[in-house]
Amino acid sequence: MSTAAERSASRKRAERQEQVLDFVDDRLGSSRWIRSALDKIFPDHWSFMVGEVAMYCFVLLLVTGVYLALFYSPSSAVVTYHGSYAPLDGQKMTQAYESVINLSFNVRFGLLMRQAHHWAANIFLAAIAFHMCRVFFTGAFRRPREVNWIIGITLLLISMLEGFSGYSLPDDLLSGSGLRVVFSIVQSIPLIGPWLAFTVWGGPFPGSSAFLERLFVIHEFIFPLLLAGLLGAHLAILWHQKHTDFPGPGKTEKNIVGSRLWPQYAIKSQALLMFVAMVVFGLGGLVQINPIWIYGPFEAARSSAGTQPDWYVGWLDGAMRLWPHWEFRSFGHEIANPFFPGILLPGLVFTAIYAWPWIDKRLFSDYGGHNLLDRPRDKPLRTALGVAALIFFVDCTLASATDLIGNGLQVSFELLIEILQYGSFIGPAVGGIVTYRACLLLQRGGAHPIQRPVGGIIVRDAHGAYHTLGAAHEEHAPGGHGADNGHSNAEEAVLERVGADREEAEADRAVRTGPGHGAEPVQEERQSGGAEPAVDEQGDQGGHHRQG
């Protein structure tokens, strides 16, 4: 327990915080808002932090990107290289390519920044994808959070485009090969395709000198601005609606259990930022990425065997390889082949993802609001469909790496393509069915395979005494989950387990007497020894803020 010295130190600390708030209040009259903001409660299940990983990658992309932009030149004027990299000596290249070569070899920290930028982009997209899966499989997109789902998917889409536009900036062999594929995809759009491609590129491939400049403005200005704006809206909505949480002891649709923003959650979040920076700059400094000096400047006559896009575009490249050589005609025009895998497929996929919250409502006839999450097993159909979609995505991504896989396994290219063509149907079907069965089995089995409530919940009552809730109920009640009434069932199990009345009464008292909203400083809490969850009230269906 705490010593007298510790207690007096923490009182001093509280006083100091009051002083700061007073200072702000005197001048701006906003301490009430700040205090309630600092006290805001974040459930800190680890999977909720991956969205933050993405956010911090974005921050690092901005920082490193600004550094690159200081040295990059978006000019397609042809120059002769006479720099420090001998194999390129005397070669003709665009000024854009030359500027990235100089950035890599002659600018202090240039290569580190370039590589960190590229690694951050790859990890950024991976974190977004993971975050999106988390939201999907737990049903966090349900009412009232459909708008944030839409914004999130838009963020994903723009990030993919942003990454691709960055990949195209250095004007090396891979950039040019990638753009050539995209050019032919754009051209393949029925009716408007050729016109559109000419307009965007300013002429036949590789386009006019305006093209690189346009790309640069898009990459370093328009898309980042859009991303920042949407990210702001994403977070504002999250703040307003409050976080979802998994069902568990002491958690109801109307409360929220977790750490306060200040100091616990802020410290956790800052630690995460440091780790993201560590990984990004660690990889950037130690592992080579996109060695454009080896690929050489883009020339139409050249090509390289392992010409692949970055991983998040790989599935589209793979889809192009898997798509059979069918011919379609409509109104006397042949629809060019790249249209189907290059435009139609991503169009359909993103339409389905955008519409998912409403598809989900229909599938489960559930139009109500939810603040508590589904566990993936609670909605076997949704989980199975999600897994099937992921398998399809992996299958297409593998298809874009067939030459490498073939080289590694010494298997013929054609055989691999054929396997993956069948795999794109069979894989998702088998994966979906297996997942569905597994969900049902898990429901019957009761115990969660990986996640079990850790410890209990400590609540302070009006007299200042502490009680432990739920500590005796760590195991899930066996047989608590029926086969098909998913989420509500899981929640009942929790309430049963904890004893609904007692739990609600206690939680309620915790809210009313809850520390931190009145005169008592939050720091007092820390005396009881650390990670004590705080309880906060959750507005109805994400409605207004009733805290404080």
């Binding site: 410290i267 990984v279 079990r452």
Partner: protein
Amino acid sequence: MSQAPVPVARWRRPFEAIRRRALGGPLALIGVAVALFAVLSWAGPAQAGTPVRWTVPVSTKPADIKAGNVLFDLHCSSCHGMGAVGASAPALLSVGPAAVDFFVSTGRMPLNSPKAQPVRHRPYFSPKQIAQIVAYVNAVDVAHGTPGPGIPAVVAACKKQGPECPTLSEGDQLFLLNCAQCHDASGSGGMLSNGYVIPSLRAATATQIAEAVRVGPRPMPNFGPGQFTDQQVAAIADYVHWLSTAPDRGGLGIAHFGPVPEGFVAIIFGLGILLVVSRLIGNRG
């Protein structure tokens, strides 16, 4: 605010503890990473240079030819026939020293099964024995009146373009235009149709590279004197050799296969580490 000054150290203490644990480690690691990076990126590329001459002379000494004949009868004639006139495998009456040296020194010959694609292997013979086999097959070809291309020589690259003097830049351009579509711009290989594997070029010596260009081990096309001068072949060989021996700029080159392994590393290591970190920082309940 007329209060006694707050003891700053005390007020900070709980944060200090957290910061030391949560932030100190990563910061230290970033520091180490940056330092290592600096060392790696400032250790510039080794100066290229693989000194040899235009064509390597082949021994015509009867002793060597005789020794080569013995080795050939023992290890090669079962497929290529006595006197290299061909049997289950093609005749070697006009292949020339370049082909024999390439196939034997890369361990492709003697082949295990006549059906398999010859792939690189530990060489079966010592350099001296290889020279003897080359001497024998060359003697057979000369006697047949159809001598093939000699073993090309590779000279050291020069800093600047000059007559009789290949440069890395020349090799780079020729390689990207003629070889990269199969062997990848970084020389790490790929795949052809019909299940032919395109090998990585990283194990080949400069001489073997030049031989491969002239010989064209099936299914690779051969590039005769009409396509490349000797100097250009030397430039290609020098560049490819440089590609596989110069230290990687910017850190560890992961398989030199471009975006696919990069994506793999980003997801498995990059995101993977961050998932573990999130799991340690966040709650599990």
